[in-house]
Structures are given as structure tokens and as C-alpha cells.
């Protein structure tokens, strides 16, 4: 037959070769470690000699799969060695705590702004003092609204 020929492979099959890059990123929302299996395909050629003395090569592909294990916890990925149990906090409780922090934080900033305004007044900048104090008042009104929302959220459900 015309297709019959001897294959004289002129290389070893374990020749190192590069894999193509792939993007393994995906949303990390849980805390469990696990692995994803995926495949890599690469193409290479085997040069061989036919019975008639012609030497050439055919490209062909190999596919293999492997796994990468990883953690979905960003803190673990960043080197956290702590017990994961302490991370289990009610999301709403955390949100309320953050809002409470912001309300207190804003009140502290309003106080600092009022002190800056006083320094402006001491420098004879009366108009600037009044404008900054107006801003402090507006700031406190907004913070009062936040505080009201927070108080409503902290009320027990009926």
C-alpha cells in the first residue's frame, strides 16, 4: 500500500515542552479548599523517515488533565494561620457594626471640623468660620439620619 512506511522517531517522547497559559481565576465566595481539574493541549511534531527515504514530520496533539488545589478564603491564601471558626459572623451584625462605626467616626470628624473652624475664627477668618460651621451642621444632620436608620435596624423584629 502506498501508505505503508516505517516510522523512525527521531526524538524521545518525554522531551520537555511548554504548556500554554490559562486563566484559572474565578469568584471566591466560600471557605472550603478544593481543586479544579482542567486540561492542557499542546501540539508537537515527530520527524520520521519513510521507506523511500523521505523524511518529514506530522504535527499532532496531546491532551492531559491535572488539578490545582487551592483555598477560596482570601485570608488563607494571603497567609492566615488562624482558626476559620472565628470568621463566622452574621453578615447583618457585621454591617450594623460597620455602620455604627461610621456614625461614631463621622461624629468625631464633625468635632474635628468644628475645632478647625474655631482656629479659622481665631485667625480672623470670620466668614470662613461661619461657612465651615454650616458644613459641620449639614454633616451632623446627615449623620443623624444614619443614626436613625441604625437605631431602626437594631430594633427587635415584631
Amino acid at each position: 500500500m502506498a501508505n505503508e512506511h516505517d516510522h523512525e522517531y527521531m526524538h524521545e517522547h518525554n522531551i520537555p515542552h511548554d504548556h500554554h497559559d490559562h486563566d484559572a481565576e474565578h469568584p471566591h465566595t466560600g471557605g472550603a479548599d478544593h481543586a479544579h481539574s482542567h486540561e492542557h493541549t499542546h501540539t508537537h511534531s515527530h520527524e520520521h523517515t519513510h521507506a523511500d527515504g523521505t523524511t518529514h514530520s506530522h504535527p499532532h496533539e496531546h491532551t492531559h488533565s491535572h488539578e490545582h488545589g487551592h483555598s477560596h478564603c482570601p485570608s488563607q491564601a494571603a497567609g492566615c494561620n488562624s482558626d476559620c471558626a472565628h470568621c463566622d459572623v452574621d453578615p447583618k451584625a457585621e454591617l450594623v457594626a460597620l455602620m455604627q462605626y461610621m456614625v461614631n467616626h463621622n461624629a468625631a470628624h464633625a468635632n474635628e471640623l468644628a475645632q478647625l473652624a474655631q482656629r479659622l475664627k481665631d485667625m480672623g477668618e470670620e466668614i470662613a468660620f461661619e461657612q465651615v460651621m454650616q458644613a459641620v451642621s449639614d454633616f451632623e444632620k446627615g449623620n443623624m439620619r444614619l443614626s436613625t436608620v441604625l437605631a431602626a435596624m437594631n430594633l427587635p423584629k415584631q
Binding site: P74, S75, N81, Y101, A108
Partner: protein
Amino acid sequence: MCLSTVYKNEKKPENQMMQNVMLIECKDGVVKLTDIMGREMEIEGEVALADLTGGMAIVRPRATA
């Protein structure tokens, strides 16, 4: 005064160690982070940078042999 986000080595999302950090303590080569909920995290290393206006700190872990 603001809460901070702490990263390992470099400010990149994948390097984020803890958000809403209210306390950073360094003692005996260990950096201890505490967030607003009281959760704690410890890592052997040092604070490389603390951006107090940007609310960001970077911790450099101790190199392991």
C-alpha cells in the same frame, strides 16, 4: 483613625488579608490584626507600610528557610 485593609507584600486583591482592621499589634515578630468584629489574624513578619489616609497597610511575612 479610619479602618484599614491589610495586604500581604503588595496591594493586590488576591493578597488581601483582612478588611475593616481597627487594630494592628506587632510583638515578638508577629503581626496581629483585629477587625471591627473582633476577629483576629496573626502572621509572622512585620508591618512594611501603613497608609493612614488611604486606609491600607502592608505586612511582609517573615521569610521561611
